[in-house]
Each structure stands twice: as C-alpha cells, then as structure tokens.
Symmetry: C2
Subunit: 459 residues, 2 copies
C-alpha cells in the first residue's frame, strides 16, 4: 500500500487546498483570557478550595466527541467557567494548605503565553539557542540565590520524579552499580525511579524526627546512589547531607539531594543550615514550581558532574548531528527528553519581577505564617505539634485516634474553606498545614485554625 | 542545628512580614504580551528562520546574576525583543522545514495562559478533577479522530521519549522479559529508553524503503516489546504494524507504535492505510505538538492495556492516599511523573477551535505542498527524490557527493530564508523538507526550491 491508495479525488496538479483558520482571534480572545485570569485570581479565595465534584462528573458534562466544525474560542472560555471550573481544586487559593502549597504568579503566567507563541523547541542547541542558553543562565542565577557552589550544570525537568530518575541513571552509569539507597521518609518518586530504571532499592531507617540514620549505611559502598532529602514530603525533615556526603566521598557513591520543596527557602541565609554539606552533592533537585512562584512544570536539576549525565544520556543519531561544539550545549544530552519546551522563560520572568528580595520576602512570609499557626496549636489544650516545624509546613494532631483525625480532616476539607492533607509519622496519622501562597494572610490561617477547632468540638 | 539558628532577628510575636508583589500588572502586561505575540506571529516570516548567533552569544548578553530588586515586566518584554529574539530559531516561521515542522496555534497560545493562571496540578484525581477528566476526554476525542479502537486509555506525556520509555517499562512489567526490538530506522528515543530502563536492545534490519523487515524477528518470543514506527524520523517510512502485531499476538510481545509525527495524519481517512493493524497495538504515541497545531509539550500516549501501565507505575505512599475509586483515576498511576500540569487545556482549545474539518484541512494542506515540491524535484535534471513521500516530508538529493549535499544544506540555511535538515538513507546523505505550518504557502516552498537550485548552481 502507498499513500496514494486513499487519494483518488485529488491530483497533484490541483490547486493547493487552503490552510485552516481556527475560530480564534489572538488579540481579542487573548485579551479576554488575560482579563479572565486576572478576575480569577481576584476571586479564587471565594471559591471552594477542594473541588466538590464526584468522579466522572466533569467527563459526563463534556461532549463525547470533538466538534466537526470549528467553534469560537469564546465558547471555550464560557465552558471553562461553566464546566471546568467546578472541577478545579484551586491550587491558587489562599487557603490551599494540602501537600505543598504551590503558586503560580503574574510574571510567569504572562511568560507562559509568550513561550507558547514562540514555541521554541529545544532538541538541539541550534533549534533553540536562546532557550537553551537562557535555561543555563537562570539555573546559574538560582544556584547563586540558593548559595550553591559555582560551576554546576543546571537544567529544567518537568518534575522532581523525572529529575531524580535522571540522577539514578547517571549514577548507575558513573559507578557501574545498581543499588539505590534512600530513607523511609524519602519521596515515593525514588522508589518509582528505581523501579523504572530496573535498579534495586533499600530504604534506610530514620530517627524520631524522620531524619535518615547515617549509621545504617553499611552497604553504601555497594550503592550507585543515595538520595538524601532536605525537606521530606511528610514532615519537611532534613537529612544530614554533610555526613552522608562525606561517607559517599569514601565509597564513591553518588549523592542526589532531593530539596524539591525546601530548596527554595535557601534564598534566605537563615535557612542555609539545611544545606550544610551541599557542596558534596553530585546532583540536586529543587522545584521552582513548588515554593518559587513558578507554575508547573519547572523542576530544577543541577549536577556538579555534568560529564556523567552526558555519558548517560547522550545519543546523537545522524538526523540530529550538528557540529560538536553545539552538541555539547544541547540540553537533551543531559536528560531523558529530546524535545523540550521553553520553560526557562517563565522562571526568568519570575526572577526578574520579584528579584532576590521578593523571593526572600515570599519565603519569610510563609514561614512566619507557619510559625504563628504552630504557636497557636502548641498553646491549645487537646492539640499537639507532631513534628519540628523547620519551614512552612506544620504537622499537628488533635487528641484522639487516627480515625478521629482523619474524620476531622475530611470535615474541614468538606467545608470548602480550606484544604489540608495528612501524613503518617512514627506510626500515627498527623494533619499537615502547608503554607506557600503570597496571597495567604494571617486571617486565612486564623480561619483554618477556627475551623479545625470548631470541627474538632463537633466530632 | 535547627531552623532557629539563623533566625535571631525575628520573634514569633512580631507582625507577619508582608508578602512580595511582583512588578507585574497581569492586565496591562498581559495585554501587552498578547499584542506582542500577535505581532510576532504576523512578522515571523520576515525574520531569519535559523538563529544567527554563535554558541555563548546569548549567555554573554545576559546579566551574570538575578536582580536583587524587582524589575518591571516591561523590561522582560523589551529584553525578549532585544536579547532573546536574535537567539530564537523560529519554529513558527512558514519556511521552517527542518526535522518535523511543528506549529503552535492561536487557541493553544491563549489556553496556555489560562493553564498557567489556574496552575491545576494533577498529582491525584482530587487535586485536579477537571484537568484529569478533561485529559481523558480529549484523548478519547483524538482517538476517535484518528480511527483508533474504542476503550483505550489515553493520557499526555511531555515527549514521545517519555511516552516510549513508559511503554517499555509497562511491557517489561507485563511480560517479565527485558529485550527491546525496534528497526534500524526507529527514533533514537527507543535506544535511549532501553538504556534508561536497563533493558537490552536489538535493532531489526529494514528494507530499501526503510521499513522494518518482519522476517528478521526470530527472537520476538524473547522480547518484552517491539517498537514499530508509523512515519520514521528520517524518511517517514511506515512499518507493517498489522504483520508485526499478528506476530506479537503469538509470542506475547508488547507492540508499541511510535506515530509521533504521522499519527496526526490519521485524522484524514485517506492516510489510514498506515494504521492498518493498529488495533493490535498495546500502546501508541502521537505527538499533538508535532503536526496537530499544539505547542510543546503534548505527547499523547494510549494503551489498550491500562492495567499493565498501572501495575508498572502505581505507587501510593500514605501522604497521597485517597479513596480507591479516586486512585484509579489519577493519571500519575499510569506514567512516570507524579506532578503534571494542565496540558489538556490547550489540546481541548485546539480541537474545538479547529474542529475535525480544520485538522483535516491542515493535514491536507501540508501534504499537498509536499506533493508539489516532490513533483518539482522529480522533474528537474540533477535532482532526485530519495524516499517515498507518504506524508508531508520530502527526502531529496542533488547529484554529487554527501559532502556536496551537506554544503548545499548549510548554504541554504545560512541565508536565513529557509531551514532544512538532513538524514542518512541507504548509506547516503539526503536532504529533508518537512512541511507542517498552516502559514506555509506555495510561494514559500517555491522560494525554498529556487534557493536550493540557485545554491546548487553556485557551489
């Protein structure tokens, strides 16, 4: 069979059929969307945080097939309001306190539109010189802001899951070993990464503050990589990366540091205690899309051993061959993906429109709110703070069973006023209040606290 | 050490420090950006397609550090023009003919701004019910448009590299085997995926039209997966997926179909010959960000064996536990990443604002242009069409050595008028003209052809 089989109606001498025009006016619809976005961010605090739909409800409200003929963009915007919005859990809500509160911001929102217009695709340096080099530059900027050693190679991955998987792969390539170590409190992406790459995993025990026990590393010399965490997902615990890094120096083990959440705090010198020993890291991931005002997806991966990344990921077929000097600059040589979008643009806009001082203010604002909440909880009879509060996440608990606390969580979440999540620490279920939005005020955490106490009394 | 170490200046009883405000006015700067994008798309055809910068030039033009204090967004937009734009290779240019021409489009550009404003993060169904369900719905829509069997599970990955890697992992999990087969003409991401996952790879020979030789599959029964390609990267050759799929049915081998580029063409029935046997595929990847008017990144991965994907990727730690019915809907259970951005929104906007008819028109427009160019080349003395032209990519060659053709490519690319790339087929270097933009006209390909002939005469 050939392509000609189905093309009985058209001759090559026929006129070229016209290109389609979408029913979209970039200016008019674009301006309407900008206004929609500004209105949305102005009113998001009045919407229920956690979507109140049942599984399948949004799907059922949508047509079963794409339209045959073009529809105007205004209809898309209308359906965004009427069909999609009720199914949105509002991550931009000032009382979104679940998992890790992550924020988009005005400069990044505007930059994403520009990135989509340019559609600069980084497969090779030459296909996107500016996107490639800007990515390197803004990663250098952030490295300086976080107090990292000079000379590390940085690039952007979609998620910390991918970044950590990439580190595992590079470590296997560099060491010839296939064992992965991480603590019991490490993020699930480490286990997933080991599974995806076909590597073995052993979880190291933690102390009562959820920090990796550095005297449980007798097999470190057999490990390709150990993943140490600065700011664990459950309780933001900080592994002792200085000690782990020293041990890795002796055993030739790659140390990957997962600071997906807490890394952003290092923009403030008063939190740098958590990065003591970071110069020993072989790779490091920090999510700009968590606590650095950048929307999904923008996970920053640095390595002080870029040649090992390149050895693991470089693979240039003939159709991608360019001069050697260009090859070395192509970011696809340092990670899993070949085609990459222009993610650096939004990070550049955030760094410029906030500046170092704005990023510091953002971190300090969030931590101060968390401290305030922590004080309230610890001062109240019948409540306890369940883990050290080092950053902007408070783990806490009401007296009573796990089931009682889980009910309490569901009760407050069902009000639509706040959204919190849970974790398990030392065998007990604890509640988590994670702060991260610049729009969150003291009144918002007071509302959360009032609601928690009221529901605890009611249950 | 504790967090308190550095915090000597602040007491918890002090007032909460204010949150930062970026120097960005979402309305004013957003409207300016929309106008910038519309102006850019209006004038991109006048800019040199391939960036004319040297490696390091963009980096050198940017400050070495982030600013300490906030800067206005207007400065970012100014620097986008003055510093970034000269380093952009214009993928949106009507005479971008390299690799695969990929297009962004107005509805998608506007939708990306909305997605960034919502910042709906799909980690679990409940964190993004609408994003999760819309993703399922639009993947169903596209499946229908492409004539796929009903009932497949679809979701979006960032790139075909990731999607193919995911298929390899699922296949290993499902079969307990670790051998990957693909043809010599398969995309380099298959080899990269095998390397990343720690699987073995064997490349199957191809015929003189670059199609996988289905009689070179004696070890199929040992393979976890075979990757068959519909539209290879070098020459858009089409593997016989019907035969490969039948053989896989006997050996229990997973067939992954890579239709990253050509899959979009299946929206037109006259190209469906290339998908004969697609119902036998266990998984399939089609990049909406290649030939479906959607900007990076939007790679569509379907599987008729979603339970096998879930078995490979599901991993729910306590802090992510939600009711079982919700877990099954969480897309993070079906692929590598946990956090995922709202990529479905732009695809929804594209499908609605173009409709089935617009997408068909887009494909037919591109193929007709490619046919026209093919006719010109084949009619001209001293030139040859170097591979069957089944879709919108023409592989061709001027009489003379590989070096001569490579020089010719560099010469035309250096003019800034067009950007073409090359491949190696049957041991010879060939030039590729890849068409994919709705803005490309017959005049644009005529200009390319004139330029090629002029430079060939000059050399």
């Amino acid at each position: 069979m050939t392509a000609a089989d189905g093309e009985t109606t058209r001759s090559v001498t026929d006129p070229i059929p016209p290109a389609p025009r979408p029913l979209t006016d970039l200016r008019a619809d674009g301006h309407a969307a900008v206004d929609w976005a500004a209105d949305y961010l102005g009113r998001v605090g009045e919407l229920p945080v956690l979507a109140r739909v049942k599984p399948g409800e949004i799907r059922a409200a949508l047509p079963a097939s794409a339209p045959d003929e073009p529809e105007p963009f205004a209809d898309v915007l209308r359906d965004l309001d009427e069909i999609i919005l009720p199914g949105i859990t509002h991550w931009q809500h000032p009382r979104y306190f679940a998992y890790f509160a992550t924020s988009s911001s005005e400069p990044a929102i505007v930059a994403e539109l520009l990135a989509a217009a340019l559609n600069s695709v980084s497969i090779l340096w030459r296909t996107a010189p500016a996107a490639t080099e800007l990515e390197g530059v803004v990663l250098d900027w952030v490295a300086q802001l976080l107090g990292l050693p000079g000379g590390w190679h940085g690039h952007i991955e979609d998620s910390a899951s991918t970044a950590t998987m990439a580190a595992l792969i590079a470590a296997r390539e560099a060491t010839g070993r296939d064992l992965v170590l991480c603590s019991e409190q490490a993020h699930s992406s480490v286990q997933k990464g080991a599974r995806m790459t076909g590597m073995r995993l052993r979880k190291v025990a933690v102390d009562d503050r959820q920090r990796m026990l550095t005297d449980d590393l007798s097999d470190l010399d057999q490990a390709a990589v150990i993943v140490a965490t600065v700011g664990t997902t459950a309780s933001t615990a900080v592994d002792d990366i200085d000690t782990v890094g020293r041990l890795c120096g002796r055993t030739g083990t790659w140390m990957h540091v997962d600071a997906a959440y807490a890394g952003a705090a290092m923009v403030c010198p008063e939190f740098r205690w958590a990065f003591a020993g970071i110069e020993r890291a072989d790779s490091l991931v920090v999510n700009a899309h968590k606590w650095m005002l950048t929307p999904q997806d923008c996970s920053l991966l640095w390595s002080r051993r870029p040649d090992d990344l390149r050895a693991a990921f470089s693979l240039t077929p003939e159709y991608l061959r360019t001069p050697d000097a260009e090859d070395a600059l192509s970011i696809s040589e340092y990670g899993p993906a070949l085609g990459r979008r222009f993610r650096a643009l939004k990070l550049w806009a955030v760094l410029r429109c906030y500046g170092r001082s704005g990023l510091q203010q953002h971190i300090r604002h969030g931590v101060a709110l968390a401290q305030k909440f922590e004080v309230w909880v610890s001062a109240e009879d019948g409540w306890e703070v369940a883990a050290p509060r080092d950053f902007s996440v408070v783990c806490f608990r009401h007296d009573g069973s796990d089931v009682h606390n889980e009910r309490l969580m569901h009760a407050v979440n069902e009000t639509g006023e706040i959204f919190i999540s849970h974790a398990r620490l030392n065998g007990r279920l604890v509640l988590r209040l994670a702060i991260g939005h610049p729009s969150t005020t003291e009144a918002d955490i007071a509302r959360a606290w009032d609601l928690l106490r009221a529901q605890a009394r009611r249950l």
